[in-house]
Symmetry: C2
Subunit: 194 residues, 2 copies
């Protein structure tokens, strides 16, 4: 997920910020601590990110763009309504297991984003929700899903996948792939499309 | 949920601490700020709670005991496996909508609990998970549910209900009752018991 961030120094600072926010929360962390964790001076950090708020925004942006790219790639060349839901849910849940650390930080700290940043992230989140809702609505319209409440049910699907980042542990009993497969199966049942 | 906390001064301090942790995170909040928000001196706060860690633990304890009491009450006098799942899921999701503010704080800050406190809260969380898993397992054993993965599926049910506290907004389109009803319906579908 972080490979898209260049140069390497910027990437290292984002990773250090994610760890620091996970450890002590956004408000409990200073830019000085982040710079130290990245092995840099506060002045060097300032060259790349002007403020702590800027760091939080860059992490949130990368996280949400990565989710969108992953879901778009998963849908590509997939035909059939149930197959699309299966592909989306598998990719969505798996992503949140694989990237649970950064995802958890961002879910917890969304409220700390500055107003302008928050609007941009909200727009990305709407895109993700729309993608899922459109897939549910299309299957329902085609008569292949049985869904009384398209909005509520697609919100539930997104919630189920996102919450993986809260409880997932790398030493737990299931791999990200297995969680993706189980959740794709449960999603199809929720739509009565299995 | 807070009525069980007495005297009134203790209750007021817990409420002030929940608000402060929601606003600035556990690590970003001082006991001095909590005392000020409760309209008290730091010395007065100290009479009731020795440390900030103690406040966090008392909130976490109250939240988890309230969930357990709510689920136990929901199951009482309910016969039939699907009916029990319906009652549990309705109560679980509804509770997380109604108490989203405190629940969100606690889900975000579980990692900040001290080791001894964390063990006690983990035990309460296991009780909640066991209640749900036993209800799923009993229905599967009776041949009324079709569940290949009892642990993974009951974890998914709990996750779905808990995550309501993250996204629920009081001014959103659905009431806690409506969310409870939708989630009970989706849970029965996930078990193929509807």
């Amino acid at each position: 997920m972080w490979d898209a961030v260049t140069p390497e120094a910027s990437r290292r600072m984002l990773a250090a910020a994610v760890d620091a926010f996970a450890e002590r929360g956004y408000h409990g962390t200073s830019t000085r601590q982040i710079a130290a964790a990245a092995g840099m001076s506060p002045a060097a950090l300032y060259v790349h990110y002007r403020t702590k708020a800027d760091l939080l925004y860059r992490i949130a942006e990368r996280v949400h763009v990565s989710v969108l790219e992953t879901l778009s790639a998963a849908m590509q060349d997939v035909d059939g309504h149930p197959e699309r839901i299966r592909a989306l849910m598998y990719a969505f849940a798996r992503w949140h297991a694989r990237h649970h650390h950064a995802a958890r930080v961002i879910q917890n700290e969304l409220g700390a984003l500055e107003a302008g940043h928050a609007r941009k992230i909200a727009a990305l989140r709407r895109e993700v929700r729309t993608l899922l809702r459109d897939a549910v609505r299309a299957g329902a319209a085609a008569g292949e899903f049985d869904v009384a409440d398209v909005d509520g049910t697609s919100r539930a699907l997104a919630s189920l996948a996102i919450d993986v980042c809260r409880w997932y542990r790398p030493d737990g009993p299931r791999t990200p792939d297995e969680i993706g497969a189980l959740y794709a199966h449960l999603a199809l049942r929720m739509l009565r499309a299995d």
